[in-house]
């Protein structure tokens, strides 16, 4: 966690000269700026900072729209989801906890929940299962996952090798960098321009997927 903190600090210094202009829609595949959005949420929560919100809005709204169109298949509902999600972001910014994950994960899960409840409402099933029933707001206690450690040792076992190629590309790249090229998690995060937490997540997911594949083989 300390490492991640330091990363926030380091990248936060880029915030001032890197802040996107609000109507600058000539968007490119800019790499995710670590720490920038966590910082923005903090400013929104504490200062009700509208320029921080504008930067966040400008970056995430188009991405939320793309996500919404993928999930709903139409633009009108996608835009409704964007608006409702961004309202939640403004109102609930104080609930964001950077020690539990990065800003984009928080925003993504809000959008997922908004979309889920929109679908229910559309079917007039308001008494029904709601997003709040399904996804607790990250209030599970942190767990030490001992299994991941023991699996580190198994990774060299030959029976895992054939399943390596079948991993989703994003997870495979991280695994190769960590286990074959022996980079630290922090180095991999920097090389790929992704948050440290995501590197760790992808490793755990890949290990679990490999375990599932090996289990299936033995059955």
């Amino acid at each position: 966690m300390l490492d991640q903190r330091r990363t926030y600090g380091h990248h936060a210094s880029q915030f001032a000269n890197n802040s996107p202009g609000l109507m600058d829609t000539t968007e490119t595949a800019s790499p995710l700026n670590l720490g920038q959005w966590e910082e923005a949420l903090g400013l929104i929560a504490i200062n009700r900072d509208k320029s921080a919100y504008a930067g966040l809005f400008n970056y995430f709204a188009p991405r939320l729209k793309a996500f919404g169109i993928k999930m709903f298949g139409n633009e009108q509902q996608a835009m409704e989801m964007v608006q409702d999600t961004m309202l939640n972001v403004w109102q609930k910014a104080a609930l964001f906890d950077p020690t539990r994950g990065c800003a984009s994960t928080w925003i993504y899960t809000i959008a997922r929940n908004v979309r889920f409840d929109m679908l229910r409402k559309k079917q007039s099933r308001k008494d029904d299962i709601s997003a709040d029933d399904l996804w607790s707001d990250g209030d599970y206690p942190e767990q030490e996952d001992l299994q991941s450690h023991s699996w580190d040792l198994y990774i060299i076992a030959e029976k895992i090798a054939p399943h390596f190629a079948a991993l989703p590309p994003a997870q495979r790249v991280v695994m190769e960098k960590v286990y074959l090229e022996e980079n630290s998690h922090q180095e991999v995060a920097e090389q790929l321009g992704i948050p440290l937490g995501t590197v760790k997540s992808r490793i755990r997911l890949a290990l679990d997927r490999l375990r599932e594949a090996v289990d299936g083989q033995q059955r």
């Binding site: 595949a29 991405r63 835009m79 961004m86 994950g101 997922r112 399904l134 607790s136």
Partner: protein
């Protein structure tokens, strides 16, 4: 060790849970499993982080959208809605009584349990439906001690999550948190062979069909379980 969760949802089921694409009933079953299972809680947090990273890093084409006016609309709306979080008015029920027994409910079911239908009882078995739509039905299923659900097969999917007590079938023994998935045409006889009552959460996509001898007479009652 003997009582820890052993039967988990597959990774692909967890992924669909995390991106919100499961039907509400199956999603509720997975959410309830998570209440019992630290391992899958951790995995689903990891999946969310992974999905979100791809979402946030995705390039987007320049569009015609007027984000500035949407943002102003959002801020105006925020001014008028004073309370940021509307608290649910539904009662939260942490305990459930059935068959003369008290059960503690996992978090995912605490709000919904007040919306269940009346218990229907047949021998040592009772069911109550939770709010659900098509194509899946979701119910609470109570199985008294030393009681079997008659052997049956399903035209559709059957998913069962043990909430309390324990159950056995032809495949094994299940404890609270264990998720049992039966695909169409699997035939099985879930039983509670212990001296304590068992409570399960059950998702069905079609009525059960009973197989043997006298229990075939139950077929007219098949909707009881559905």
């Amino acid at each position: 060790m003997g009582n820890s969760v052993k039967h988990h949802p597959s990774l692909s089921l967890l992924e669909q849970f995390c991106d919100g694409s499961l039907t509400p009933e199956v999603a509720l079953l997975v959410a309830t499993h998570l209440d019992f299972c630290p391992h899958c809680q951790r995995l689903s947090k990891d999946i969310e982080a992974d999905l979100a990273c791809s979402f946030a890093a995705a390039p987007v084409a320049a569009g015609q959208d007027d984000w500035l006016s949407m943002m102003q609309q959002v801020l105006a709306e925020a001014e008028t809605t004073a309370k940021p979080v509307t608290p649910s008015t539904d009662p939260v029920v942490t305990n459930l009584e059935v068959g003369g027994h008290q059960f503690e409910l996992p978090r995912a079911l605490q709000r919904l349990s007040s919306k269940r239908s009346k218990w229907l009882t047949l021998g040592g078995i009772a069911t109550a439906r939770l709010p659900s739509g098509e194509p899946h039905h979701i119910s609470l299923l109570f199985i008294d001690k030393n009681t079997a659900v008659p052997q049956h097969t399903h035209k559709g999917l059957e998913m069962t999550l043990v909430l309390a007590g324990e159950m056995v079938d032809e495949q094994g023994r299940y404890v609270p948190g264990d998720l049992i998935i039966n695909t169409p045409d699997d035939t099985h006889t879930p039983r509670n062979v212990s001296d304590d009552p068992c409570l399960c959460l059950s998702v069905l996509s079609a009525p059960l069909q009973f197989k043997q001898g006298m229990t075939r007479l139950l077929n007219p009652l098949q909707r009881f379980f559905y």
